[in-house]
């Protein structure tokens, strides 16, 4: 082989990824950044007018500030509502599936079914369940004598409903990741713990969870990123007013705010500013993650 071959081939092989990344990752990122300093409408992108930081000040203190802070808060509360129970349930499920069960293989595969379902289909079904007109959720409440709830209209009820959809879709996925990590925990540790008289719950707390710490951190990060970008579920859940996250913006997330500003109000500049703020937020989360990981490693 020529020297050129051995040196060049690896570059040629990794090139497709970087070319596609440049075209669909880097370029849009920079272009969005450029747009965020302009006043530009969706149907006339060629006619952009430089406005400096106005789009950002509009978001923080100006005309849209009310909606921006509301969306930021919703992103946090919806994210917490959807992520925390989801990961706890995934951990529990994985622990159960780690035992010798009948039909274990089937159950493990079934875990992935919700994840494989499309957002649209899942949201449609849950929108029907939480519908004020003959929805299953209100029927269940009725059995206990509780009055019908307008799920979509209330801030907390709507956020609860949406977090149920997110949780339903992602719990199995995370459970499989935990399960894989659990399989790597040496059997002897459990046997030793059992000999010492530790119950299964104690084994879970003192053997499984510490061994899974890096995996848990990983899923927390991935779920946080997912929660920051939450869009499809609330958008589709809202039907006609989904584009603004409900009539009262009661479940508007940053992702929906970006869509509403850009594609509903055709203010592309402002939407780009939201996109960049989201990007900055994700970088921040990444940074915190790096710090925590380093700390964990140091403490081990």
């Amino acid at each position: 082989m020529h020297r050129w071959d051995t040196k060049g081939t690896p570059y040629a092989l990794v090139a497709p990824f970087f070319l596609v990344f440049a075209a669909f990752g880097l370029f849009p990122l920079l272009y969005t950044g450029w747009l965020s300093f302009h006043r530009v409408s969706l149907y006339n992108v060629d006619r952009a007018e430089w406005v400096g930081l106005r789009n950002y000040t509009d978001l923080f203190t100006g005309q849209v500030a009310h909606y921006f802070w509301n969306a930021l808060l919703n992103t946090v509360t919806l994210g917490a509502l959807a992520t925390i129970p989801q990961l706890l349930m995934a951990l529990g499920l994985a622990h159960l599936l780690n035992y010798r069960l009948r039909a274990r293989g089937f159950l493990r595969t079934a875990l992935l079914a919700p994840y494989a379902t499309s957002v649209a289909a899942a949201t449609l079904v849950f929108a029907l369940i939480f519908s004020p007109e003959g929805g299953m959720a209100n029927w269940l409440l009725g059995l206990f004598g509780a009055g019908p709830v307008q799920w979509e209209a209330g801030r907390w009820t709507s956020q609860f409903a949406i977090s149920v959809i997110v949780t339903w879709r992602w719990t199995g996925y995370n459970a499989l990741i935990y399960l894989a990590a659990m399989q790597a925990v040496p059997r002897e540790l459990y046997e030793a713990a059992a000999l010492d008289g530790a119950s299964r719950w104690q084994q879970f707390l003192h053997v499984t969870v510490p061994a899974l710490r890096p995996t848990i951190l990983f899923t927390v990060i991935v779920s946080t990123i997912g929660a920051t970008q939450l869009f499809g579920e609330p958008y589709l859940f809202g039907g006609q007013s989904g584009h603004q996250g409900g009539a009262d913006h009661q479940y508007e997330t940053l992702g929906i705010l970006m869509y509403d500003q850009g594609f509903h109000s055709s203010m592309l500049g402002r939407a780009s500013a939201v996109a960049w703020i989201m990007f900055a937020l994700l970088l921040l989360i990444g940074l915190v993650n790096a710090l925590i990981t380093r700390r964990l490693r140091a403490s081990q």
């Binding site: 070319l19 149907y43 449609l124 029907l128 007109e133 003959g134 589709l236």
Partner: protein, 436 residues
Amino acid sequence: MPRPSLPRLRTRSAVLASAALASALVLTGCSSSGDGGSPSDGKTTLTVGTFGTFGYKEAGLYDAYMKQNPGITIKENPTTVEGNYWTALQTRLSGGGLDDVQALEVGRISLATSEDLADAFVDLSDAPGVDKKSYLPWKWDQATTADGRTIGLGTDVGPMAICYRQDLFKAAGLPSDPESVGKLWAGDWAKFVEAAQRYQAKAPKGTFFMDSASGLFNAVVSSSTVQYYKDGKLAYKDSPSVENAWDLAAKAVQGRTSQGLKMFDTPWQTAFSKSTFATTVCPSWQQANIQQFSGPANKGKWNIAQPPAAGNWGGSFLAVPSSGKNVDEAKKLVAWLTAPEQQAKVFQKVGNIPANQAAYDLPGVVDYKNAYIGPDAATGLIFSTAAKAIKPAETGPRAGDLTGAFGTGVLLMEQNGKSPAEAWNATVRQIDSTIQ
């Protein structure tokens, strides 16, 4: 106007994503934009972008046109919800990939004829076979730019009537034949709200007089000559019709005479089949919804009456983007589709009232009766009379967005429990932040 078509959204983005990936891998900049215009074996394919129900397929018009013009194939790209359709259309105006023919809703026509967008569409006044005089004059003017180019030909208008449940009216002790029902509220929307209170006092359990206060709001504004704009400026804050409509909607909400449904959403559709409300504002295109959602079990229970005031709600245009590859063929098709004979056929099939007034004199239009809704009511006469009585209102570039914002604003009173003042302030804030 109805619900989002979810599967369609998904497929489109999936196709876009894979197309983008494919073109990136072969590193070519140009991918085929849509399926129009490839003149293989001497055939021309025309694509038509629509939303809601235009009825061309249902009335067999595409097939008829292709038979008459052997070189032409027509493909329709339908979308359910107008909002989604318009968003996609705006994106493609700068990005490319428009259909040869694009439908435009009346709320968008002023923006489409404005300086910003008018150049994106061709002038249709000189299309073969177009007779300006046969279109409703105000409809023609709506689609004409300041410099006299007509960029859209009217397909239908939305004259309003009131559709009501005869059985529920009877049960609540109200008169139930169309004539006396029309007299209940003749001339004034305030009487409609009074009738609502009379109904609600003796209403069958679990039923409401109207489906949605936003529907009432929209109907009141739609039957006024001053709506959201005045002298070319946004004037909704001082518009008497907006104020009146807001007060009436608030009254309807406070009297619990409205079921509080979001029009076009799934619960609204379900409520039709469960017979939980007694009236709905009935622009001509609403007939199709009533029949579809109420289902065969409720056949013969609906009837139709004159509205408190004549007005127009909805209606569309067909336009030809100037970037298309088959502009001449597309113009011919649009002219043919909006000609009186074709509009009459669409009306008989799906109930859209023609924008081409010459169609009213054709058999089967004025004497039309709807077998599902009030089989004895003179439906064709009610709608064509209402269509001719419509007084044009000034519209503006963001009329469609304002309609949406106010619809949501009324929902704030109705579903979110806001006081009229709180809801009004939230609506104004919403409008100020999106419309300048």
